[in-house]
C-alpha cells in the first residue's frame, strides 16, 4: 500500500477536481488543498523510494488505452531509479512552490483557477515521468504543455500574456510535430512503444531509422526544453505568475526534454549522429542564451534565459553520453533555479509587481531572508565551490572534456565527432564565465547599491512565512544537494542510484588528478565572471564600456536576441498567413468560382433548353427515365 505508485498521481488529480469543482465557493482553501495534495504526493514518493531500495524496477498496468490492428497502448506505471529521482524532484519542488504560492497569490481574485491548474500540472508531470511507454509520455507531455499554456495566460486580460501563451503552445506544437513523427516511426520500426521492448529491439533495428527516430524525439525535447531554435517561447512565458515560472518553466516541465533523452539513452547510444546533434544544439543554446541574459533588464527574463542556457548544458552532458550527469545537473538546477525564481517573486511581490531591475537596488536590508537565500542560489548557479551547481556543472564539463580527450580508437570515440567536443568544452567554459557574470550583475542590481526608485523602496517589505520557508528549504537544497548527491565525483549517491535505472551508462572517470585540475579550471572560470560582474556593477569599473569597444555591435545583437524572435514571430508567422490568405483567395475565386460558374452556365443552358419545359410533370418524368436508361445502358454496354 505504502509503495503503491498510483497514489502519487491520484492526490494531485483529486486536488484538481476539488478545486475545479468547488474552488469558486471556497477560494481561501484552494491553495491549501493543492499544497496538501502535493505534499502527500511527495511523501508517497519518498515511501516508494524507500520501499523500492534495491529493487531494479517495478511495472504495473493501469488499463488498456487502445488496441487497434497491432497498435496497442497501455496506461502503465514504470518505477525505476530514474523515475523515482524525477518524481522526487517534481513532487518536492511542486510542494514547496505550491506552499509559496499560497502567500504569493493571496490577493489574487482568481486564485481558485490558479490552484486548479497547479495540481493538474503536477498530476500530468507525474504521469509523464512514470510512464512505461512513449505514447503515454507524449499524452502527458502535451498535458503539461496545456497547463503551461493555461498558466502563462493566467492573467488573460493582458494581451501580452495571451500572446505569450499562444506562442508557447504553438512552438511546442512544432516540437511535438517532430516528436509525434518520431513516435510513430518508432512504432513502425519496433512494433511497440514500450521502452523495454524498444530497447530489446535495438539490436535488429535499421541504423538509419534509429538515428532518424532519435533526432525526431529530440525535436520534441527541443520544444519542451526550449533549445535553439525553439527556445523563443520560454522567455515570453515569464508573463505567467512567478511561482509558475519557478515550477513549470524552470524546475520541472522544461526538464522533460532532458528526461526524454536520458530515458531513451540506449536508443541514443545506438545513434551517435543524433547524440552529436543533441550535444551541438545544447552547447550552442547554452552560449546563445547566456549572452542574451547578459543584457536583460527584467529580473525574470535574466532567469529565463539562464534556464535556457542551463538546459543546454544538460543536453550537452547527455550528448556526451553522460546521462547520469545530465540528471544530476537537472536535480541541482531544480533546487537553485526554483529558489532564484521564487526569490525574484519575493522581490516582485515586495515592489508591487515591479520586475525591472533598473528600478530596484539596495533591497538587501529590506528583504534579508530573500537576499540571503538569493545569494546562495546565485552562487549555486554560478557553480561556486561547494554549492550544488559546482558539483553537477563541473561534472558536465569534465565529461565533455573526457569525451574530447579520449584516445582515437578508444571506447569513447568509437562514435563520431570527438574532435568537436573540444569546441564544446570551450563553449562550456565560456558559459561558466557568462553565467557567473549575469548572475552577479542581477544580484548587485537588485540588492546592492542605492535604491533607484525611492517610492518603491519605501514600501518594500519582507514576504510572509509561507513564502520564506520554501526559500529557506530550497536554499538548503541549493547549498547542499550537490555535495550530498555528488561526493565523491563520479561515485556519489546519485551515480550509484541511477545505475539501477534501465541502461543508464556510467562513464568511467579519468582518475582523481585530472578531475581536480578540471574542477579548478571551471572554478576559475566561474570566479572570473563573478569578479567581473562585481567590479562592473559593484565598483563601477568601466568593464561593460571596454567590452563594448572591444566588440561593437555585440550588445545590439544580444539585446535583439540574435534576431531569432524576428525570424519566428515575424517571418514564419507572416509566411503562414500569406499562404493562408492565398488559399482563401484561391478558394473563393477559383474553387467556388468554378462551382458558381457551372451553376450560371447551366442556368444559361436551361434558358436555351426552356422549350422542353412544358410544365407537365409526366414530361419531366419521361426525360428523367430516358436519361437514366441512357446512362445505365451506356454503363452496361461499356462493361
Amino acid at each position: 500500500m505504502l509503495n503503491a505508485p498510483w497514489i502519487i498521481p491520484l492526490l494531485p488529480l483529486a486536488a484538481f477536481a476539488v478545486n475545479g469543482l468547488f474552488g469558486r465557493r471556497n477560494p481561501r482553501w484552494t491553495g491549501w488543498v493543492s499544497t496538501a495534495a502535493v505534499v502527500g504526493s511527495f511523501a508517497a514518493t519518498v515511501a516508494l523510494w524507500i520501499a523500492s531500495a534495491g529493487a531494479d524496477q517495478d511495472e504495473s498496468l493501469l488499463y488498456r488505452w487502445v488496441a487497434s490492428g497491432g497498435f496497442t497502448i497501455d496506461i502503465a506505471f514504470l518505477t525505476d531509479a530514474l523515475t523515482i529521482v524525477m518524481l522526487l524532484v517534481v513532487t518536492g519542488v511542486s510542494a514547496l512552490v505550491s506552499l509559496y504560492a499560497v502567500g504569493y497569490m493571496d490577493h489574487d481574485a482568481n486564485k481558485p483557477r490558479f490552484f486548479t491548474w497547479i495540481p493538474l500540472f503536477v498530476f500530468s508531470m507525474i504521469m509523464l515521468v512514470i510512464s512505461d511507454n512513449l505514447l503515454q509520455l507524449f499524452v502527458f507531455w502535451e498535458m503539461v504543455g496545456l497547463c503551461s499554456y493555461l498558466l502563462i495566460g493566467y492573467w488573460y486580460d493582458r494581451d501580452s500574456a495571451n500572446a505569450a501563451a499562444t506562442k508557447a503552445f504553438l512552438v511546442n506544437r512544432i516540437g511535438d510535430f517532430g516528436f509525434a513523427i518520431g513516435i510513430i516511426l518508432a512504432f513502425l520500426e519496433f512494433g511497440t512503444l514500450r521502452y523495454r521492448e524498444i530497447f530489446a529491439g535495438l539490436g535488429s533495428a535499421d541504423a538509419g531509422m534509429v538515428t532518424a527516430i532519435a533526432c525526431l524525439l529530440f525535436v520534441g525535447a527541443m520544444g519542451k526544453s526550449a533549445q535553439f531554435p525553439l527556445h523563443v517561447w520560454l522567455p515570453d512565458a515569464m508573463e505567467g505568475p512567478t511561482p509558475v515560472s519557478a515550477l513549470i518553466h524552470a524546475a520541472t516541465m522544461v526538464t522533460a526534454g532532458v528526461y526524454l533523452v536520458v530515458r531513451m539513452n540506449p536508443l541514443y547510444t545506438q545513434a551517435p549522429e543524433a547524440l552529436l546533434l543533441v550535444a551541438a544544439v545544447g552547447a550552442f543554446t547554452a552560449v546563445l542564451a547566456a549572452t542574451i541574459a547578459l543584457v536583460q533588464t527584467d529580473i525574470k527574463r535574466v532567469l529565463a534565459y539562464s534556464t535556457v542556457s542551463q538546459l543546454g548544458l544538460m543536453f550537452l552532458a547527455a550528448g556526451a553520453g553522460a546521462y547520469t550527469v545530465a540528471i544530476f545537473h537537472l536535480a541541482t538546477h531544480a533546487f537553485f533555479k526554483a529558489l532564484l525564481f521564487l526569490g525574484s517573486g519575493s522581490v516582485i511581490h515586495a515592489l508591487n509587481d515591479e520586475q525591472d531591475m533598473r528600478r530596484m537596488g539596495g533591497l538587501r536590508r529590506k528583504l534579508p531572508v530573500t537576499y540571503a537565500t538569493f545569494i546562495l542560489g546565485g552562487l549555486a548557479l554560478a557553480a561556486v565551490f561547494p554549492l550544488a551547481g559546482f558539483w553537477s556543472k563541473d561534472e558536465v564539463l569534465a565529461h565533455v572534456f573526457l569525451k574530447a580527450a579520449a584516445d582515437p580508437g578508444g571506447a569513447l570515440t568509437a562514435d563520431h565527432g570527438a574532435g568537436v567536443f573540444w569546441l564544446f568544452y570551450a563553449t562550456g567554459l565560456t558559459v561558466s564565465v557568462l553565467t557567473a557574470f549575469y548572475t552577479f550583475r542581477m544580484i548587485v542590481k537588485t540588492f546592492h547599491g542605492a535604491p533607484r526608485d525611492a517610492a518603491l523602496h519605501e514600501h518594500a517589505h519582507e514576504s510572509p512565512w509561507v513564502m520564506t520557508v520554501p526559500l529557506i528549504v530550497l536554499a538548503a537544497g541549493a547549498a547542499l544537494s550537490g555535495a550530498v548527491l555528488g561526493i565523491p565525483p563520479e561515485h556519489g549517491v546519485i551515480h550509484g542510484y541511477l545505475e539501477h535505472a534501465a541502461g543508464v551508462l556510467h562513464l568511467e572517470g579519468a582518475g582523481a588528478a585530472p578531475t581536480l585540475i578540471l574542477a579548478v579550471v571551471s572554478t576559475v572560470a566561474a570566479l572570473t565572471g563573478l569578479l567581473l560582474a562585481l567590479g562592473a556593477y559593484g565598483r563601477g569599473l568601466p568593464i561593460p564600456q571596454r567590452a563594448r569597444a572591444l566588440a561593437p555591435g555585440a550588445e545590439t545583437l544580444f539585446r535583439q536576441k540574435w534576431y531569432l524572435d524576428h525570424l519566428g514571430d515575424g517571418f514564419m508567422v507572416a509566411l503562414t498567413k500569406a499562404a493562408a490568405m492565398l488559399s482563401w483567395g484561391f478558394d473563393a475565386g477559383v474553387v467556388d468560382g468554378i462551382v458558381n460558374g457551372v451553376g450560371k452556365l447551366s442556368r444559361f443552358a436551361g434558358g436555351q433548353a426552356g422549350r422542353i419545359q412544358t410544365g407537365q410533370a409526366q414530361n419531366y418524368a419521361l426525360l428523367m427515365v430516358v436519361g437514366l436508361v441512357l446512362t445505365v445502358g451506356g454503363l452496361v454496354l461499356f462493361r
Binding site: 487497434s68 497498435f71 498535458m143 513502425l188 499562404a579 482563401w584 478558394d587 445505365v632
Partner: protein, 493 residues
C-alpha cells in the same frame, strides 16, 4: 459468423427508426404551445438515443458480420427488401446519431424562435432519416433514407437560415442532389450487374464484375460521397451552408450529415469497387491531404467565426478520408473514431458560436473579444471544446487523428508528415481564434453586460463533453467495437 446468428428477436433498429416518429410527430403536430412541441421532439429523440445506446452496449464486438439484423420483403417484384443491421462500421454512427438528437433539440429550443412546429417536425424526420442511412442493408431503402435526410436539412437552411439563406440552400441542394442522382445511377448499375440490392451480398457479387463497370460505379459513388464529406475540391457548399444555417441545423449538418459521406466510402466504395479504389488511391490520398492542410490554412484567416469552424471541419474530415484511403486497420479505426469525435466536437463548436450569436448578434471575430471575465463558464466550456478540436490528448480529437497518422505513416512517410502538419495548423487557428474572441480586453462595449451560459446551455455542452472525455481517456471502449469490421476492410484476416 453469418448474418442472423446474432440477430435478436427484438427489432431494436426498427424501433429506433419509427418509434420516434410515432411518439414525436403527433405531439408536435397537435401541441398548442412551444414547450409542448419541444417536449414532443425531446421525447422522440430520447427514445432514439436510448435505443442507440442500448444497441451499442449490446453490440458483440467479437462477432463479425451484421448484428441486430431484420429482414422482410418490401417490393418483391423489384427485389427491394426492408433489411436492417449494424456492424463495426456503423455502430458508432448509430450511437452518434442517437446521442446527438436530444442535444440538438436542446439547442433548437434555445435558438429557434419562429415556426417551431415545422422545425421540430423536420428535425425528428431528419433524425430517423440519418439513422436509416446507417442501418439499412438494402440499397433502395438506403437511397430513400439518403434523400429523406436531404430535404429537412434543405428546409432548415432555407426557412430558418440567415440573410443569404436562399443562395446557400440552392447551392447545398443542387450540389448534394447532383451527387445523389449519380449515386442512384451507380445503384442501378450494380443491380443490373449483380441482380441484387442486398448491401450485404453485393461485395462478393461485385468481385467478378468487369473493371470498366467498377470504374464507372466508383466514379459515381465517389462524387456522391465526396460532395457529402465534403472532400476538397467539392467543399465550397459547406461554409455557405453552415454560415446560413440556424445553430441547430449546423450542429446536425456537421455532426451527422457529413459522416454519411465517409460512411458511404467505408460501406460501398471500399468493398464494392476495390480495384478502382486501388487505381486511384494516390489521388484520393492527395485530396485528403489537400483538405487537411488547405482547410486549415483557409480557417486561419476567416473573419467569420462560423466559417472558421466550417473550414476546420473540412480539415478534420480530411483526416477521416485519409484514414479510410490509406487502408490500414489502424487508420480506419482512427477514421471512424475521428468521425465520432468530430461528430461531437464540431456541433459543440457551432453551438458555442450560436450561444454568443444569440447574445451579441454577430459572428465576426473582430466584433468580439474579452468575453472571459463576463462569461467565465462559457469561456471554460468553449476552451475545452477548442482544445478537443485541436487534438489535445485525453480528449477525443487526439485519438482519431493519431491513429489515422499511424496508418498514414504506414502507407507513406511523406504522407504522414504532411498530414501531421495539419495538427500544427489546427492549434494555430484554434488558439488564435480563442485569443481574439474570448481572451483579452473587451473591445465591443455593447457586450459589457453579456450574460454567461445558462443551465440549459451548460447541460447541452455537458452532454457533448461526456463523449469527448470518454473517447479521449478510454478509447478502447469504442475502438474495440470496430475491430472485426475494419480488419475485414483492411484486407486482414
Amino acid at each position: 459468423m453469418t448474418t442472423g446468428e446474432t440477430a435478436l428477436d427484438f427489432p431494436y433498429l426498427s424501433l429506433a427508426l419509427w418509434l420516434p416518429l410515432l411518439v414525436g410527430l403527433p405531439v408536435i403536430v397537435l401541441a398548442r404551445s412551444r414547450g409542448a412541441i419541444a417536449l414532443g421532439a425531446l421525447a422522440a429523440s430520447l427514445v432514439q438515443a436510448a435505443i442507440a445506446i442500448l444497441v451499442t452496449v449490446r453490440f458483440d464486438h467479437n462477432a463479425s458480420g451484421y448484428q441486430f439484423v431484420e429482414a422482410a420483403e418490401w417490393i418483391p417484384a423489384l427485389g427491394i427488401s426492408y433489411k436492417l443491421g449494424v456492424d463495426g462500421v456503423s455502430i458508432l454512427m448509430v450511437l452518434l446519431t442517437g446521442v446527438l438528437g436530444p442535444l440538438v433539440v436542446g439547442a433548437a429550443w434555445l435558438t429557434i424562435h419562429k415556426r417551431e412546429r415545422e422545425f421540430f417536425a423536420a428535425l425528428v424526420v431528419l433524425q430517423t432519416a440519418m439513422l436509416g442511412v446507417f442501418v439499412t442493408l438494402d440499397f433502395i431503402l438506403f437511397y430513400v433514407f439518403w434523400e429523406m435526410a436531404l430535404i429537412p436539412m434543405y428546409l432548415m437552411i432555407g426557412v430558418w437560415g440567415h440573410e443569404r439563406r436562399i443562395y446557400a440552400t440552392v447551392k447545398f441542394f443542387l450540389y448534394t442532389f447532383a451527387g445523389s442522382v449519380l449515386m442512384l445511377v451507380a445503384i442501378l448499375a450494380i443491380r443490373l450487374t449483380t441482380g441484387t440490392f442486398d448491401i450485404e451480398a453485393i461485395p462478393a457479387e461485385m468481385a467478378g464484375a468487369p473493371l470498366v463497370l467498377q470504374r464507372w460505379v466508383f466514379a459515381a459513388f465517389f462524387l456522391a460521397f465526396a460532395i457529402k464529406v465534403p472532400m476538397f475540391p467539392f467543399h465550397t457548399w459547406l461554409p455557405d451552408a453552415h454560415v446560413e444555417a440556424p445553430t441547430a441545423g449546423s450542429m446536425v449538418l456537421a455532426g451527422v450529415l457529413l459522416k454519411m459521406g465517409a460512411y458511404g466510402f467505408l460501406r460501398f466504395l471500399l468493398p464494392m469497387t476495390p480495384a478502382a479504389v486501388d487505381e486511384t488511391r494516390g489521388l484520393l490520398v492527395a485530396l485528403s491531404l489537400a483538405a487537411i492542410i488547405y482547410g486549415a490554412l483557409v480557417a486561419l484567416v476567416q473573419p467569420d467565426l462560423k466559417k472558421l469552424v466550417a473550414y476546420s471541419s473540412v480539415s478534420h474530415m480530411g483526416f477521416v478520408t485519409l484514414g479510410i484511403f490509406t487502408a490500414s486497420q489502424t487508420g480506419m479505426d482512427g477514421a471512424i473514431i475521428q468521425m465520432l469525435s468530430h461528430g461531437v466536437i464540431s456541433p459543440a463548436l457551432f453551438f458555442a458560436v450560436g450561444v454568443v450569436y444569440e447574445r451579441a448578434h454577430t459572428r465576426r471575430i473582430d466584433d468580439l473579444g474579452g468575453l472571459a471575465p463576463r462569461m467565465p463558464l462559457y469561456a471554460a466550456i468553449f476552451g475545452f471544446f477548442m482544445l478537443a478540436s485541436l487534438g489535445l490528448p485525453l480528449l477525443s480529437g487526439f485519438v482519431g487523428e493519431f491513429l489515422v497518422l499511424v496508418g498514414a505513416f504506414g502507407y507513406d512517410t511523406a504522407v504522414g508528415v504532411l498530414a501531421a502538419l495539419g495538427v500544427i495548423l489546427a492549434a494555430a487557428y484554434m488558439l488564435w481564434m480563442y485569443q481574439r474572441v474570448v481572451l483579452g480586453r473587451l473591445r465591443n462595449q455593447s457586450l459589457a453586460a453579456i450574460p454567461d451560459a445558462n443551465r440549459l446551455e451548460i447541460a447541452t455542452f455537458a452532454g457533448l463533453g461526456v463523449l469527448v472525455v470518454w473517447v479521449g481517456i478510454f478509447p478502447d471502449t469504442f475502438v474495440r467495437l470496430l475491430g472485426t469490421a475494419t480488419a475485414g476492410l483492411a484486407g486482414q484476416p
